[in-house]
Amino acid sequence: MLGAGGGTSSYKEMETTDLIVLWGSNARNAHPIFFHRITKGIRNGAKMYTVDPRRSESAEWADTWLGIDVGSDIALSNTVAREIIHAGLVNAEFIQHSTSGFDAYAESVETWTLERGEEITGVPAEAIRALAHDYAKAPTAQLCWTLGITEHATGTDNVLSLINLALLTGHVGRWGSGLVPIRGQNNVQGGGDMGALPNKFPGFQDVTDRNARAKFEAAWDSPVPAEPGWHIAEMIDAMDLGELTAMYVIGENPAQSEADVSRAIRLLDGLDHLVVQDIFLTKTAQMADVVFPAAAGWAETDGTVTSSERRVQRVRKALDPPGEAKDDNEIITMLANALGHDWEPRDAEAIWDELRSLSPMHAGMSYERLDALGGLQWPCPDDDHPGTPFLHGWLWEETLPREPAPFSIVEWMPPIDPLDDDFPIRLTTGRRLDSYNTGVQSGGYRSPIRADVVIDMTKEQAEDLGVEEREVVRVSSRRGSVEAPVRIVDGLRRGLVFMAFHAPDEVDVNQLTIDDWDPKSGTAEFKATAVRIESL
């Protein structure tokens, strides 16, 4: 964010910060060791707000829980912003010195009175006001989020609306104050770092930048397209238009993980050629023309991953992979050679050293230093650099070394899948503590706390529907329907139900979700589905 694709802070800052805002995140379950830091912070006196449609396990630790209606995040952040401005609580010196576009931004949030905010978000005006005042007045504050913010059609704007709050109050670029997206997989951050984005080279260098392109073309002795490629949602649409006819899928299971999964399966099925490289014979792999059995990237191969605090750490081979499974690096090299290239086999460190020579932010991170220091946080431009615990300290320099940070004008938009008489209930999805994504990995151990696949709802909701605990109901959206037993829980409310997505072979929740996606990030709106629930 603010021109760098990573969170600004170190986990350790959670322990000493004055205020924690956990927005669209159930870190207690999804990121338990990060939550250890939050509990330390709370024990050290930090106040915590959580913003979540559910009163989740994380919300139970908060001083105040803001039970927001699904998909009204921008309405809430704009209301918080207006309240901060009108109460005279902005950090005027910081705004004047380090930001741009404040006046237009202030005007854009002017209609977001506390009353309107309450009406759209369902959060009492007094609670919105309290969050605004506490966030603005706190000496230091960490604003954290996860997929509850990003898995929306307005995901990118949701993030921008949170960045606006940090710019209003100066809660960024200082130890203890920052913007903290916690990543869902061990190398989401590293994938971005390495340029696994349609528009970036490694180190977040732009493919449209002629100089960057020239550097990579020289290093690789090969021309590089000047146009950004497609992200996953664009690929799905391109498949539908017949513009994408062959696919090479590495370590992903779109036949179960995509929103509106029936459509994804139909499109994958219609490809001329599908290659899947995975450690499992996933549902997607079962559809493939060719399957490359891969080694598990965290225990059967060497390499690096980057965590949510931008810390690059070594993964190391502890086991020989089974059967014919091979390291991804080896498979890609073999494939390149089969396609007529002449690639020498190289180990992970040699590839990493090439990366360091091309990506300035990684240049100082030799394997030797990563081993000795337990990882390094980027940017780390040379061998003497200690790594960077927090980003954007430049915002506080007397003479700014670059353009000031811009406010972004963001408009609230309701979820794409509307509630109506046919589909009157909002379904949101998420993770449970002991399981992970489509369950192919976490299904491999016998968890004593694994919940059956259920649809969670409150007692009141069940009474409205005339259904009982454990009764199997049909849940239908505009795209599909599944059957699941009811579980009565606290923490939800009338009109809001929850399902985890870890057992698609039993209950394929993504039959229900909508694949309309955020044009800026390519992430689908997994979090907001309109459903109808019926007895069988």
Binding site: Y11, K12, A30, H31, P32, I33, H36, T39, R43, R174, W175, G176, I182, R183, G184, Q185, N186, N187, V188, Q189, F280, A296, G297, W298, A299, E300, V305, T306, S307, S308, E309, R311, Q313, R314, V315, R316, K317, A318, L319, D320, P322, G374, G375, G393, W396, E398, L433, D434, S435, Y436, V440, Q441, S442, G443, G444, Y445, R446, S447, P448, I449
Partner: protein
């Protein structure tokens, strides 16, 4: 415009084994001893947890104090005169180990305990060696609890509670010799608040708490640490970047721990990091 610079630490002058030493004013006696390469036995103390003072093995003499003082929790004071090498201390520690041997099964105690017992020439039979008699609690596929081996050091309670996991599934129940670590109302672990992070097992010094994978191999007499390698890698189940130590025997993961001295985890993990390796070896 940036304020935060840490204040200079305050220092104090003390005497340690008749030698003058300068120490941080907020250091414990144990911190100072270890900084001086002066080893002190501990059992209930762990760097990542708050001191609990239950085992008393780290006791030292402080001039002017009638009783021996636990080094792990006592903060140094200016002018403090500390001895760690007197006969009285050696007697106290040896006797304590002998008491433990008479009330607890120390057969799987950690290397530190065994080394000190040998150094102090401990006679485990002095008060009659403890005969294990309690049934091992096996209530799920991940944990076992063998309270014959429990020294009531409280580490598991601290790791489950305020020092790490904050789940509070276990605490001390009962009084005196009949005190024991228990779930609420002694319900089974699956029925308790336990979330199976394994952090209690990770901090247990005596093998009272053990991963079932290790227990089963020990029962089958196939557990062989001499054949095990330990490889540090990064967990794959979320983006926090927890360090995992994979204990591997015969190309199978047999146990997962985390380094106590790594800043991301401080030795603690969640259920996925601790047990999620299962799929790696389903068909090997």
């Amino acid at each position: 415009m940036i304020e935060s610079t840490l204040p200079e630490p305050r220092m104090v002058e003390i005497t340690l084994n008749r030698t003058a030493v300068t120490a941080h004013a907020d250091a414990t006696i144990l911190d100072v001893c270890r900084a001086q390469d002066l080893d002190v036995p501990t059992m209930c103390f762990l760097e990542t947890l708050s001191p609990f003072n239950s085992c008393r093995l780290c006791v030292v003499e402080v001039a002017g104090s009638r009783t021996l003082v636990p080094a792990c929790s006592r903060i140094v004071e200016s002018g403090m005169e500390i001895s760690t090498d007197s006969e009285r201390i050696t007697d106290a520690r040896r006797t304590l180990y002998e008491f433990y041997a008479s009330t607890v099964d120390l057969s799987l105690a950690d290397a530190e305990t065994k080394n000190w017992m040998s150094k102090y020439d401990v006679d485990p039979d002095r008060f009659g060696r403890y005969e294990p008699h309690r049934a091992v609690k096996i209530q799920d596929d991940l944990y076992i609890r063998d309270y014959d081996k429990c020294v009531m050091c409280y580490r598991c309670v601290a790791a489950c509670g305020p020092d790490a996991q904050n789940t509070f599934a276990i605490d001390v129940a009962g009084r005196g010799l009949s005190s024991t670590i228990s779930t609420e109302y002694d319900v089974t672990l699956p029925d308790s608040a336990c979330v199976y992070c394994g952090n209690c097992i990770g901090v247990c010094p005596t093998g009272a708490l053990m991963f079932k994978s290790e227990y089963d191999m020990r029962e089958a007499d196939t557990w062989d640490e001499g054949r095990q390698s330990i490889t540090t890698t990064i967990c794959s189940f979320c983006g926090v970047g927890c360090n995992l130590e994979l204990h591997v025997q015969d190309n199978r993961v047999v146990k997962v721990t985390s380094p106590m001295d790594h800043d991301v985890t401080n030795g603690h993990l969640c259920i996925k990091g601790r047990f999620g390796y299962g799929y790696l070896q389903e068909e090997k």
